[in-house]
């Protein structure tokens, strides 16, 4: 559905007298299949929005090529526009218009006739639970209501693909869960959904496949489960006094189920194992036999943050 090769974009920005070049996106290759929810996960400034804006024909790439919904991005941007929907990160509704007016206009801009546009608007208002506020000015909506209007605007013409730039940023947990349901519903209707997010749980729970982006590059791509499996199984964190740590390390390093062992600075060990649930009893027994005092034991299943950490050397939570 989306295929990009070597997509690039740099910005020139002027700071005082110097002109600096920011390589916002440096060679992105993506393959998004029809009917999936594809997630773009990355910290602020990773280049997610820039990539989306290129795919939505809003900015021209400096290099590379892409096919979006079967149309060539460079040769036929007009056709791409007809086939996609795009919901910007920063909002797109006008304060003085109502949701219904915006929806009808949007449908009409896609060439849909008047009566049909009104029908579609009505349907969208119902689907996104907006009927109650449909004829109020957008400036009176809450953040979540407004976000729902914007998403409804992006799909009013039933595109093959919809790009949603951070659809849930700024929503409370309940609205977020609702939004996830809406997005899943779009998938059921056969739409391909491309979202960006910097929420790990969102990428994990909502997306069929994700690409992790950092500094303008895709550093990993796959299903959340694949990505997590790729990195080192699970981690058992053993809390020990500093003095007994070396002895414990010596004992456990030779165990077959420990694939890698790290010493924690303040005392304690990190054991990389295939399956934590079966490793823990063995660790307990071994240390007990040796008469070593165990303070705590903890099982850590890898999260997407660990994937991010292994790929970039930074934690997404910190950046």
């Amino acid at each position: 559905m989306i295929e990009t090769r070597g997509l690039r974009k740099s910005y020139r920005s002027r700071a005082g007298r110097e002109t600096k070049t920011v390589d916002a996106v440096r060679g992105v290759d993506l393959d998004v299949a029809a009917g999936e929810i594809f997630g773009f996960l990355g910290p602020n400034g990773a280049g997610k929005t820039t990539t989306l804006r290129m795919l939505a024909t809003l900015i021209e790439p400096d290099g590379g090529e892409a096919a979006v919904a079967g149309a060539d991005l460079r040769k036929d941007p007009a056709e791409v526009r007809r086939r996609i929907g795009y919901v910007a990160q920063g909002g797109s509704t006008w304060d003085e218009s109502s949701a219904r007016e915006e929806l009808v206009l949007q449908a009409r801009l896609y060439g849909i006739g008047k009566a049909d546009a009104h029908r579609r608007a009505e349907r969208a208002l119902e689907a996104f639970q907006l009927v109650e506020y449909a004829d109020r000015k957008c400036k009176t909506y809450s953040g979540g209501q407004r976000r729902r209007v914007e998403i409804a605007l992006g799909i009013i013409h039933e595109p093959k693909i919809v790009f949603l730039d951070e659809p849930t940023t700024g929503l409370d947990p309940q609205s977020r869960a609702h939004m996830w349901d809406e997005i899943r519903r779009l998938r059921t209707e056969g739409m391909t959904v491309f979202i960006t997010t910097h929420y790990l749980d969102e990428a994990d729970a909502l997306c069929d496949r994700i690409a992790i982006m950092d500094h303008g590059e895709v550093v990993a791509e796959g299903t959340p489960a694949e990505l997590k499996r790729e990195i080192s199984g699970e981690v058992v964190i053993v809390g020990l006094d500093a003095p007994s740590t070396p002895r414990a390390a010596e004992l456990l390093d030779t165990e077959a189920y420990v694939s890698k062992l790290e010493t924690v600075d303040e005392g304690g060990l990190r054991l990389y194992v295939d399956e934590g649930a079966t490793a823990i009893p063995q660790v307990l027994r071994r240390l007990d036999h040796a008469g070593l005092d165990l303070r705590s034991i903890e099982l850590h299943r890898p999260s997407l943050d660990d994937v991010f950490l292994t790929k970039t050397g930074r934690s997404l939570r910190e950046s």
């Binding site: 939505a56 024909t57 809003l58 797109s92 509704t93 060439g111």
Partner: protein, 251 residues
Amino acid sequence: MKLARDTWLIFQRQTQLLLRNPVWIFVGVFQPVMYLLLFAPLLKPALNAPTQAAAYKIFVPGLLVLLAIFGGLFQGFGLIAELRAGVIERSRVTPVSRLALLLGRSLRDVVSLIAQAIIITLLALAFDLRVFIGYLLLAYLMLALIALMTSAVSYGIALKVKSEDALAPLMNTVAQPVLLLSGILLPLTFAPGWLQGVAKWNPFSWAVEGTRALFNGDLGNDRVWQGLGIIAVLAAAGVFWAARQFARSVR
């Protein structure tokens, strides 16, 4: 066909929003009426006009051209607000014609200017101004072309500078010499030779003279077709340039 349809959609939407804001309508009518009531009475003695009606024949066309220029030039501010709200970006991902995005807006400005002009003309009739209707319509055509040009240019510049802080001083800087060198408030017949020479390079001074000739019932005056011609060419160029800004503008 698609262009006409898209233009109509944008025009409709923009007009609807304008009508929803009664403050704008009030200001749009109130200001020129004040000029008419409070400034025009000074003119008969100042211009040495034989009658009040004669003074109005000189002043009203100038006032209308002034409104067309300023009304157009300051439309860019509204666009910057739309830019900031993301409305323009939203339109730009749809297949809507880029030219329609501009024309729909500029035509709204033209229509509201003509509405203003009609109100002022009617008021001036009350002060004994008399103009033949055919000439008046030609004068309105001139005004429409001026408004089309200035609003298109204003939108184009707004898309380029993207901020009110830059647009305001820019527009004032452009508007001031244009205003002073066009003989809008007082005819340039009073001006020294060098000033008249400079004013020749100001297309609006041709437009003003043409409009005055029309109000004077002087259709044979060369300034009429010259003014219309110059402004029509400039309006076409302005629309072309501004539509390209809509096609390429980022963020």
